[in-house]
């Protein structure tokens, strides 16, 4: 009788099993881990670096580092959280490197990579007063990107991990290689800077909508 063999994904449905098997020399098990967690790591990396090219590089490097350090990984059930932290860590280094490269070449802050997306968004008509609509407004979206880019790499990492990744303060402290109180402070500072930069636009937007005009 021809029986259906279970797929590798079924056999390694548990991350802990896949990690054990990778440590035992089974590369297929690591492939399952990469395919399972790539997209979430990509979302973090994109939000941190602000461009697709760097985000993809961060994802690849995070998995390579995870593979190399796998034997030091203590709680194998949380492989996703662990690789997420490695990615955050590498993304900070990448952003710092980019910043110093840009300042050496005396370039303005990187804005062109996402320029096309911003232009596209500015053409979206503004209809409903929801946060989604607010973000779709070209000017606000552009301002938000600029404000995020103006944060330091550590602030941006802390903000992305906390508000988009749902990470706890301990995890952020680990990624920033700082104490929990310093990490808490970095999260607060990032929100404070974003408020300062963006609230006039958000409020102006709200007022013009209330008056039936557009920004």
């Amino acid at each position: 009788m021809n029986r259906m063999r279970p797929s590798v994904e079924t056999v390694f449905e548990n991350d802990a099993i896949a990690v054990e098997r990778t440590l035992a020399g089974d590369r297929e098990a690591f492939r399952v881990l990469v395919e399972r967690h790539s997209r979430k790591v990509y979302q973090l990396a994109y939000r941190m670096t602000g461009n697709q090219h760097d985000a993809e590089e961060v994802v690849q490097e995070a998995f390579l580092r995870a593979y190399q350090k796998l034997s030091q990984f203590a709680s194998r059930a949380n492989f996703g959280t662990w690789v997420y932290r490695i990615a955050a860590n590498y993304a900070i280094d990448r952003m710092r490197q980019r910043k110093s490269e840009d300042s050496q070449r005396e370039l303005p802050p990187r804005a062109s990579e996402d320029g096309a997306e911003m232009d596209l968004m500015s053409t979206v008509p503004d209809a409903a007063p929801s946060p989604e609509r607010l973000a779709q407004s070209g000017q606000l979206a552009a301002q938000m990107r600029l404000a995020l880019r103006a944060l330091t790499p550590a602030e941006r990492t802390a903000f992305v991990m906390r508000h988009w990744g749902g990470s706890g303060i301990e995890e952020i402290a680990d990624a920033l290689k700082s104490s929990t109180s310093a990490a808490k402070n970095t999260v607060f500072r990032s929100v404070q800077k974003l408020r300062k930069a963006l609230e006039p636009f958000v409020e102006q937007r709200g007022q013009s909508r209330a008056m039936g005009t557009q920004l």
């Binding site: 099993i17 492939r31 990469v34 408020r195 958000v202």
Partner: protein
């Protein structure tokens, strides 16, 4: 009335537990702070909507294709397992010591057997091959016993079921035994590989996956989950393979012909499974 600081309002938005009740009570009574909190909520909600480009359905596969050629070859050694940093099993955990003890006992037994099986007569060199054979025989018997114990766990799992329909089944006993077997299994698989017995290493590898699966299942499984485990056992035919190879090793141990058969019927039999 003391207003909460901006930091406390942001922490409140983030769902932080410390001081939560105080901030909630204040915000309910203070229109100014309520407005401030609404501004924070609106800004963070707007920031959440910045789109991330969709990397495509096959993104995970693409990442794998890009990184797989750059991954170094990983080779697990039995001493890595015994002396490595704590992973899932701390170094002081009893089962790690059981496995270490099993290996030490095996090495000692093989050494003593090698020494006493052929009395050393001065001037007459002891045939190294005889000692090797004795050591191999002990190893073959140990692996045979290991497969026998594994078979028992798998048979028990295959036969277990709930007392009443719909009731959960406790498989914690089988799990503990699977965990212990797992550690021995790794050592034997590694030894089989080093000795070039790839067929035996292959069966031990498959057994390892099944033991891992059992060891990481919940302690209490529903009849549906139990059926899933059973179906996986059946689909892989692991019970049959373990039975055939275990029997063959037993026969090899008893007959004293310990070498991995090259063209013998034994190997043919194993290759069939």
């Amino acid at each position: 009335m003391k207003h909460p600081k901006e930091e406390e309002l942001i922490a409140y938005h983030d769902g932080e537990a410390a001081g939560r009740e105080g901030v909630a009570a204040h915000v309910a009574d203070c229109p100014e702070c309520r407005k401030e909190l609404e501004r924070i909520d609106a800004l963070l909600a707007a920031l959440e909507t910045i789109p991330v480009p969709e990397p495509g359905e096959d993104y995970g596969q693409r990442v794998w294709q890009q990184i797989s050629p750059r991954l170094p070859q990983r080779r697990a050694h039995w001493w890595d397992f015994l002396f490595s940093e704590p992973k899932t099993v701390p170094w002081f955990a009893p089962r790690r010591w059981v496995a270490a003890g099993a290996v030490a006992a095996l090495v000692l037994a093989a050494f003593i057997a090698g020494r006493i099986s052929k009395p050393v007569i001065p001037g007459v060199p002891v045939a190294a091959t005889d000692q090797t054979k004795v050591r191999e025989r002990i190893l073959v018997m140990a692996v045979g016993e290991h497969l026998g114990r594994s078979e028992m766990v798998l048979v028990e799992l295959a036969n277990s079921g709930p007392q009443n329909a719909g009731q959960k089944v406790n498989i914690s006993g089988e799990q503990r035994r699977a965990e212990d077997l797992l550690e021995e299994n790794r050592l034997y698989r590694q030894t089989a590989l080093e000795q070039g017995d790839s067929a035996l290493a292959g069966v031990l590898d498959e057994l390892e996956r099944v033991l891992l699966d059992v060891a990481h299942s919940p302690q209490q499984v529903t009849p549906v989950q139990l059926e899933g485990i059973r179906q996986r056992l059946e689909a892989q035919g692991i019970l049959f393979k373990v039975r055939v190879v275990g029997k063959e090793l037993q026969e090899r141990g008893e007959s004293g012909n310990t070498s991995a058969p090259s063209n013998s019927s034994g190997k043919n039999e194993r290759n069939k499974v």
